[in-house]
Symmetry: C2
Subunit: 471 residues, 2 copies
């Protein structure tokens, strides 16, 4: 087998120890914040029945699902059915990325890999509603899979860190969700970041007030969403291309000119009932958060649209200075959680993007020093009792130390060199029947210690040193 074939699949990654520890650090911080808000952990299977996933993420989403092949007799039948389907006129479509055979995949598959954490939440909520109580606050930190084109910061397997409140339409939920998101960022060491906020109802009301007909609403909001990237002129050009009438364009551009503050949008919406309700939501949210840590981070941004699909109320997006794109987002979506129940369930949530957070934290070196490096590397010098070294390792662990033992006799100089390379904070060895402790930081060695002396010396060192590794 050639060396090349040891690579993981395209768009996926192996995480060596340093990177696992970085991820665990970030997940640990996020989880501790989510827990402090009383959210409860949920985990769902990586596999979902294909019918649960299909049609939930739009046409593009259906194509990006990783589908699992049928097995046994159903596979034999599926191949026949797929072949028959391919022979129908127009069954094979040739597009930019080559030929595809829509629907053939569904004939060959019964399961798909989890694509997000919201559809599984809706499914679990339907299956266990009684157990979960009237208000269910859950967080879920698990990988999802999408057969997307991999690129910088874009992977086919990546983690989502979701928190959602199901069953309440109170704005206190928005306030709590926004606070938790801001607190995560602060605890992770981010200093310059904002939580942009807007309201789906506000966007729709403005489009309506500007005279944009309902059929063009989505087009206009999509254009507006690009303000950050293309500026007001770019938005105007896109509105023109999408055939938004000139009068409506002028109204919208007038609002954007000099910045669409909450007051300006409010003046623009004078007399619009749905618009007034959305404005009241936003003003209440700002008032609720006054004096909290989230207040200074919350910025009204009229151009924020967060895609368009399922949000119904307030929407949020976390952005950091000098970083294109978002570090997380969320909002209220009252029509989704009830999809398997056949009724609406109010819900509001937020998701942090773990991969982007890690990327930025790696660039800015926001990780604690010595994250998970080894504490003690231990060995016996040649000729010493191997069993005594083994018993010493047990004694050290009983006193809470993390110890890796070299599984062969080792000369002290070599041991110290290995400890420096790993790195380990200390090297300990048995030589001449006594114990010796080397401190990497000071390059000093304490010699001829007995067990009690060694434990005391380590305790003294540790009064100043942060012991590492997960708790």
């Amino acid at each position: 087998v050639s060396k090349q074939s040891a690579a993981p699949p395209k768009g996926t990654r192996d995480f060596l120890p340093v990177f696992v520890r970085q991820r665990e650090h970030v997940v640990g911080v996020i989880r501790s914040v989510y827990e402090s808000y009383g959210f409860q952990p949920l985990e769902t299977p990586a596999l979902e029945r294909l019918e649960v996933l299909s049609g939930k993420y739009g046409e593009e989403g259906d194509q990006l699902l990783f589908k699992v092949l049928l097995r046994g007799q159903p596979l034999v039948q599926g191949i026949e059915a797929a072949r028959a389907h391919l022979q129908e006129p127009g069954a094979v479509i040739t597009g930019r990325s080559g030929q595809v055979a829509p629907k053939a995949d569904v004939l060959l598959s019964d399961l798909g890999l989890r694509y997000d954490l919201t559809v599984p939440l809706a499914r679990v909520y339907a299956a266990h509603q009684a157990e979960l109580g009237p208000i269910f606050k859950r967080y879920q930190i698990q990988p999802v899979w999408r057969a997307d084109t991999p690129g910088k910061g874009r992977f086919r397997e990546f983690y989502q860190c979701d928190l959602d409140v199901c069953g309440s339409d109170s704005l206190l939920v928005e306030a709590e969700v926004a606070s938790a998101a801001v607190e995560c960022m602060g605890r992770l060491g981010f200093e310059e970041f904002s939580l942009r906020v807007n309201h789906r109802g506000l966007l729709r009301a403005v489009m309506n007030q500007a005279g944009i007909e309902a059929s063009k609403e989505v087009d206009a909001i999509t254009a507006l969403d690009k303000l950050d990237k293309v500026g007001a002129e770019g938005v105007e050009q896109e509105l023109t291309e999408r055939q938004v009438p000139e009068a409506a364009r002028a109204q919208l551009l007038g609002l954007l000119k000099d910045g669409a503050t909450l007051d300006r949008v409010s003046a623009f919406l004078q007399g619009h009932a749905a618009g007034a309700a959305a404005l009241a939501d936003l003003r209440s949210l700002f008032e609720l958060l006054e004096g909290t840590k989230a207040a200074s981070r919350l910025k009204f941004d009229f151009s924020l649209a967060r895609g368009l699909s399922y949000y119904t109320g307030c929407i949020f997006e976390l952005t950091s200075k000098d970083l294109a794109g978002s570090l997380g987002g969320g909002g209220r979506y009252d029509g989704l959680i009830g999809m398997f129940l056949g009724k609406d369930v109010p819900a509001c949530g937020f998701a942090l993007g773990l991969e982007r957070l890690l990327l930025v934290m790696q660039e800015r070196n926001l990780f604690p020093a010595d994250l998970g490096s080894l504490e003690i590397l231990l060995a016996g010098a040649p000729g010493e009792s191997v069993r005594r070294v083994l018993l010493l390792s047990q004694l050290l662990r009983e006193h809470g130390h993390h110890v890796s033992m070299i599984p062969k006799p080792e000369k002290p100089g070599r041991l110290r060199k290995s400890a420096a390379e790993l790195p380990a904070a200390f090297a300990i060895w048995l030589e001449g029947g006594t114990l010796h402790l080397w401190d990497r930081k000071s390059d000093a060695t304490q010699r001829n210690l007995d067990e009690q002396g060694l434990l005391a010396a380590l305790a003294e060192h540790h009064s100043g040193i942060h012991r590492t590794g997960p708790p």
Copy 2:
């Protein structure tokens, strides 16, 4: 959509909060033990290229792989190829479980779901050998997927908790791996358990000494492995069925009679060189572990075979009293980790079976009390300032408390009822402009507190109470 369709796929499970916390507790204990032995965490993608997985787990394993369907143009071609394959004579096989089309699945798939954690370790070791150093001690706790028939305690998605040392042939590695396994069990609260130990070289030598020809060796060891379940008579019957000659059978049964102790096996192997080497390994291991916590748990068991596939030296199995089957197992396997390098790499490891551990721990109630139950449920009585309640929740969190706020005004009696049901340790409410603290345990309420009084009262309560939730 009907209620029934909210179920997860066959053989998989949704984990509601209580069960997530139980799993996290067990994984946390295992991880902390593995870390204390200096093992480093590794994580690999859920998906592997199919060629990495194929042929590594035997013919049955190939059939139990979850395979991911091709996408785009390759799918169109794959369907044609699979159809052509099905038309070849004998391509479809009818067996007990219906028709299958061997090889058709490989024509339709490029990726498979992770089947174990050992093949990914071998792949990562080949890709990163230089970085990983001469001796790589890693642990990996991730789910694997097998399209097995689900049953009690048998799932299609389940966690493995592996630790392995790659790059050393020292028996100190076996000693360390055995110690770590025993320590996990002790720390999880198990009291009656054994770590059974045997040696693949010993088994082969005994078969050889008994006059069983090489071609019958696997058959004979497979029969012997069932001693636990079927007794000596059952083993004899199976040996007969598998056409092991009578003289050899008699020798083997003679050894089993009255128990095959290390001394009896040693006497039986008199003059057998490979047997003597295996015996020396086992005796050295017992000597090394003398005086350690593992010593009292380690039991030589000549009938232990641990399947047959890839072990080359010492083999281990964790068993608990009154529980059929094992809670974990492992051993030395020097021929596997180098599979992608084209050379042998000595390795020894152990895997704990998370699902079985959890099952037993649930039956025996081995979890800490109040695992992850909520600390504080908070609300304002009707008419009180919602914002003040929100600010109070922030203050409490700043002091390290876990607080869930009810997102609407709530009467104190109802609040206490909800706190009792959840359960939460405390209910706190704002009423008449002051704060009130109810302790679920004592059913006592401290009334009319200010913020500082509340924090002091909580601190006093907490001097005796274990705060829950992950750290």
